[in-house]
């Protein structure tokens, strides 16, 4: 009875596997069956979660913009998304002329699968993790790239100029922002000494990496926002310029799947930020009651997700030239500097046997001061250059 309270999901799993082995099935086959069952349950839960995510986002953005948001269908409008989905299900699937059918139809599936796949390595509790592979971080980067591939396929197969422009922008943005994201991801790997997600969370039991390397945490968050194409980086589907970008020629649930993938991806990057930099499931009494870890994980993820929505409600969209300039001239150099600072600070703390939290905080403060000074000098030079022609002429 105590076991079921501590860790209900593994308890049910053990019960099922004992029962199935008792039926006379091969143990290896039973493991496979349970894996299949948990994969289907995880994917279904994630897709159903999108209903709540879309509702929460519309409601919060409405509040930020001083509106009420959906409030007609069900209490507080919670069934609005269900109503929208029912409408989408009965819409005609229009396939425009000249589309490349195979990539056109496979693109929405690929986009959703890439997002769902990210959750395979997400540690939900000390005892609850899909697959503890030892290259978890690299897996996240590569699966993220498959999402980009889906969007590129959609844009290029649609036979539409707007879709093509959206796809170009998507690829330019995503490959640019992958660089600082990878550099920021190096820091949890470096501090924990492993690329496995579970090891990274265990490494944060003492102090979350956001405390040790706040700059890297913020860079990871911002560049994954850009990677997902969320506001203010949503120029790949800027509705006032290129209508809807890559998904312009899609209708019905094929469009709906891009929509689902986008919202789920935003939640996924919140979960990744919470896992890699805010300590994931770690918290008090988590060894005694592993299920509490899931609660901590969800609380941290929800806080980060709220910030994502807050940013969407507060910032205007930036242009593509500003976006690339921000990435290559600011975020990437800062990420490089942050990596150097963290690597040296950690080693110095270990060699001189100092308190590592204090050393890291000191190096972070130094880094932030350095960034501000360099930005100040840069701003002064730019201002002087802007003034110069006025004096001459």
């Amino acid at each position: 009875m105590i076991d079921i309270l501590k860790d209900p999901i593994n308890w049910i799993g053990d019960l099922l596997s004992t029962w199935l082995v008792g039926l006379g099935l091969l143990p290896a086959f039973v493991t496979f069956l349970l894996q299949l069952l948990s994969a289907v349950i995880l994917a279904t839960t994630l897709l159903l979660l999108t209903f709540i995510l879309i509702w929460a986002e519309r409601k919060i953005v409405a509040r930020i913009q001083d509106r009420l948001g959906p409030n007609r269908v069900g209490p507080f409008g919670v069934f609005q998304t269900v109503a929208d989905l029912l409408k989408l299900v009965t819409k005609e699937l229009i396939t425009p002329e000249g589309v490349d059918r195979l990539p056109y139809n496979i693109a929405p599936l690929l986009t959703v699968a890439a997002v769902v796949g990210l959750w395979g390595v997400m540690p939900l509790a000390p005892t609850l993790l899909g697959a503890d592979i030892n290259v978890g971080v690299l897996y996240i980067i590569s699966i993220g790239a498959i999402g980009t591939l889906g969007i590129l396929l959609a844009g290029m197969s649609s036979n539409n100029k707007y879709a093509l422009l959206g796809a170009f922008r998507t690829v330019a943005v995503m490959i640019s922002y992958a660089v600082p994201m990878v550099l920021a991801l190096l820091i949890p790997v470096l501090l924990s000494g492993s690329m496995g997600m579970q090891a990274i969370v265990v490494g944060q039991r003492g102090a979350p990496y956001f405390l040790l390397a706040p700059v890297a945490g913020i860079i990871f968050f911002v560049s994954s926002l850009a990677e997902v194409g969320r506001a203010p980086f949503d120029l790949l589907e800027a509705d006032s310029e290129i209508v809807a970008g890559y998904n312009i020629e899609y209708s019905g649930l094929k469009f709906g799947m891009f929509f689902v993938a986008e919202f789920l991806h935003a939640f996924t990057i919140s979960a990744l930020t919470a896992t890699l930099f805010l300590g994931g499931w770690s918290g008090p009494w988590v060894d005694l009651y592993p299920i509490l870890g899931t609660l901590y994980f969800l609380i941290k993820t929800s806080i980060v997700y709220f910030v994502v929505i807050w940013i969407r409600g507060s910032f205007p969209r930036i242009r593509i030239d500003q976006m690339n300039a921000l990435n290559w001239k600011f975020i990437t150099p800062v990420a490089l500097a942050g990596l150097i600072f963290t690597a040296v600070a950690e080693k110095v703390a270990v060699e001189l046997e100092l308190q590592r939290v204090i050393v890291h905080l000191g190096s972070s403060v130094l880094l932030i001061v350095l960034i501000i000074v360099v930005l100040g000098i840069y701003a002064r030079i730019t201002r002087r250059q802007a003034k110069a022609p006025a004096i001459a002429g």
């Binding site: 009965t90 890439a114 707007y162 209508v243 020629e249 649930l253 300039a325 690597a343 040296v344």
Partner: protein, 118 residues
């Protein structure tokens, strides 16, 4: 060793299958009345002119080149980061030197004006 990868394969499969089922349900439920106007390429009410596959800006290509440099760098830095705990200070500083060489490449590209979006 192989077991986690089976789970990931199954999860990716489920991630493809569930949307597929939803789209098939949509296809079964939806009306099917195609006509020429409905299936024409959408361009804000104007008929599309010329080829769809327009030439893309050269700047995209240059960004892709810089990206390749940095992504290969990441491949070299991940083993360095994993082995970090067993390193002496001078080994860490060698890694820092490697990062600085890459930073020099970025500064070179910047001074050449490659990073300007024109």
């Amino acid at each position: 060793m192989l077991e986690p990868w089976i789970f990931i394969g199954l999860l990716l499969g489920a991630g493809m299958l569930l949307p597929g089922v939803a789209i098939v349900a949509n296809w079964l439920l939806s009306p099917k009345k195609p006509n020429a106007i409905k299936q024409s390429t959408y361009e804000c009410g104007i008929e599309t002119v010329g080829e769809t596959n327009v030439q893309l800006k050269g700047a995209y290509y240059i960004y892709a080149l810089i990206f390749v440099v940095f992504d290969i760098e990441a491949v070299f830095l991940f083993p360095w980061a994993v082995a970090y705990k067993n390193m002496q200070l001078y080994m860490v500083l060698e890694g820092v030197l490697f990062i600085l060489i890459l930073a020099a490449g970025l500064i070179y590209a910047w001074r050449k004006g490659v990073l300007e979006w024109v």
